[in-house]
């Protein structure tokens, strides 16, 4: 990155400034599109979007529920990025984690909840972690670029899901044959915080927060995390200092895959209730990349940007219902955020 002397850095606003600028720029670019394709006033559309995302307790509730998977996939990208690996495979790891959770959740039905639920969560984590480690192994053994392998593994994951849902894990008892599993039994499900109300927030939010804290302690407060970061910043320096680079790559992909897998597992056992062929129509993994980028790969940043993207997802629905602007518009805004954020150098103000 080139050295610059922006005013922003002088006033030490760097952390928040670029994400917010990128978001504002994205909204402005989006408003041009809204003006082009509809007769709506962009300000009305955005006020509906923002009100639906964060305007009431109920909308906060939906936004937080939507934020949980994004926090996990964001953590997945960040955990790998801290070791210099670009993990584009969180989508696949998310799916395989969901599969692992569904498998243990359904097949071990009958266990008491204090045994069953932890096992299900561990299965979600491990399935995702092992799937993530494939990327690391291919990189270590064959020098294969993780940019390619992690993306390609997403398709493999999608096909594994397709096979499982039309084969070994397909619902047996149903009148209609559909590509879906049985319902996850209560002993493997995560409950809601406020069960008898219309609020859908579930205990998974605490698991997400624990994961964020775990990520912080691991990366910034442990010697393993230090080694991991050194490899991420400069692999040769790390090796020179006696750090086993390959072990760090394996570890970071294990954790990255595990985070994504846990997110997928929680999405299935807390929100969707069963694994279906349409369970992953939101691209959780790719949104996670945006979450991590905007959150600057830090725990607090991922939490905030996760909630922001969760809000966009939740608000988009009501925006579509109330204004007739397609919910795809919020995806366009997401894409603009990424574009403007990764292209942030153009906002830097040069000194003459």
């Amino acid at each position: 990155m080139r050295k610059s002397n922006s005013i922003i850095e002088k006033y030490k606003l760097g952390g928040l400034f670029y994400p917010i600028l990128a978001i504002l720029a994205a909204f402005i670019a989006g408003s041009i599109l809204i003006l082009l394709i509809s007769t709506k006033n962009p300000i009305d559309v955005y006020s509906v979007l923002i009100k639906s995302a964060f305007g009431s307790l109920k909308s906060w509730d939906s936004s937080l529920v939507k934020a949980i998977p994004f926090i996990f996939t964001g953590l997945s990208f960040a955990a790998a990025k801290r070791c210099g690996i670009v993990n584009l495979g969180a989508d696949g790891q998310f799916m395989i984690g969901a599969l692992g959770g569904a498998l243990i959740g359904i097949r071990l039905n009958g266990l008491p909840i204090y045994l069953h639920l932890p096992l299900t969560l561990i299965a979600g984590f491990l399935f995702g972690a092992i799937f993530g480690m494939i990327v690391a192994l291919l990189k270590i053994k064959f020098g294969a670029s993780e940019l390619i392998t992690s993306i390609m593994l997403n398709y493999i994951a999608a096909n594994i899901i397709g096979w499982a849902l039309t084969g070994p894990m397909q619902e047996k008892s149903a009148v209609l044959v559909n590509p879906q599993t049985e319902l996850i039994p209560p002993s493997a499900s995560i409950g809601r915080l406020f069960p008898a109300t219309k609020f859908t927030l579930h205990y998974g939010i605490f698991i997400a927060i624990i994961a964020l804290i775990f990520f912080y302690i691991l990366i910034w407060r442990s010697s393993v995390g230090y080694q991991l970061r050194v490899v991420g910043i400069n692999p040769s320096a790390g090796e020179y200092a006696g750090i086993n680079k390959n072990r760090m790559i394996l570890l970071s992909m294990f954790i990255a895959g595990g985070f994504a897998g846990l997110g997928g597992c929680i999405e299935i056992i807390a929100v969707q209730g069963r694994l279906m062929n349409t369970s992953f129509s939101i691209q959780y993994g790719f949104t996670g990349i945006a979450v991590a980028l905007v959150g600057n790969n830090t725990p607090l940043g991922i939490l905030l940007s996760g909630i922001f993207f969760g809000g966009l997802q939740a608000g988009a629905l009501r925006m579509q219902i109330l204004t007739g602007i397609s919910s795809s518009m919020s995806q366009v805004i997401q894409a603009f955020v990424i574009l403007f954020f990764t292209g942030r150098d153009m906002f830097r103000i040069k000194k003459a």
Binding site: T39, K66, G162, L176, N178, S281, R318, G324, I325, S326
Partner: protein, 323 residues
Amino acid sequence: MKKLNRIAVFVLVVLAVFAITSIVAAESSEKSYKVALINEGAINDMSWNYTAYLGLMKCEELGAEVAYVENIAISDAADALRAFADEGYDVIFCSGYTFMDSVKAVAPDYPEVQFFIINSTLVMDNVNSIRVADAEQGFLMGALSALMTKSGTIGFVGGLNITPIINGGKGFEQGAAYVNPEVKTIINMTGSGDDVDAAKELALAMISQGVDVISPMADQASLGVMQAAEESSISAIASGEGMQKIAPNATIVEIVKDTSIAYEAAYKSFLEGNITDEILYMGVNYGVIYMSDYFADIPEEVKAEMEDIMAKLAAGEIEISID
């Protein structure tokens, strides 16, 4: 070609947005029912979701105030249902079985709202399910294929391995056997409703096995089958309105499963207040399944035979076994 498709899709989306906004703008003063549609896919798929959208438009012609959302993920379904119910919608249609769990959870909170789910088995106080007689569509395809084949081998490409399409395949087999027990039927599923390339590959493989009349029943992926037929210069029977445009030379006829009529019929029964607690089965009898005009030169006796089969299906004189 792909790029062109994308542009076409974009233009469609833009037009759709225009259409909606103009609809919203044209408010009527008299009290009308509000009808919403929740789509699992995009309304421009020229198939399942498209006919669902047309169904909503038919409800509008009946005086309803309408709105829809598309590409709704399962995790958004409950929110979408609640959002419409909270906005005071009287009737909410769900375009597929995937919404069953969500409707089951949400419906009791909104006893004043009538929910309809297509291709489901859920029936509650305020929830009804509509099932389309997919087997009849397959039956017509199989019968016409068997009448038209020269090689004696006909093919059916299914999408997802789900009840409607499985039944379609069973109907196809029985339809072919009904007119000519000698004909060999090849039935394959791609396992996907949107993988156009997989459907095309599968169709090409079947064509290389001698199939000379092919029928898709694979939602959006059907387009791949039509392309394969066009490129291999064999005949195809389209499963959705407008598909003939993809394969102008190959298409014999479109045998359409027009769920829009199912939506219209369901809405009418809501207006008349005669909703029972039984699942609504709709096929040729309701006009949900019908044949377009022929696009190719067809012998008169084939036309007559097909008309006869249509009449018998409508009268319930042909029993298709789907067990």
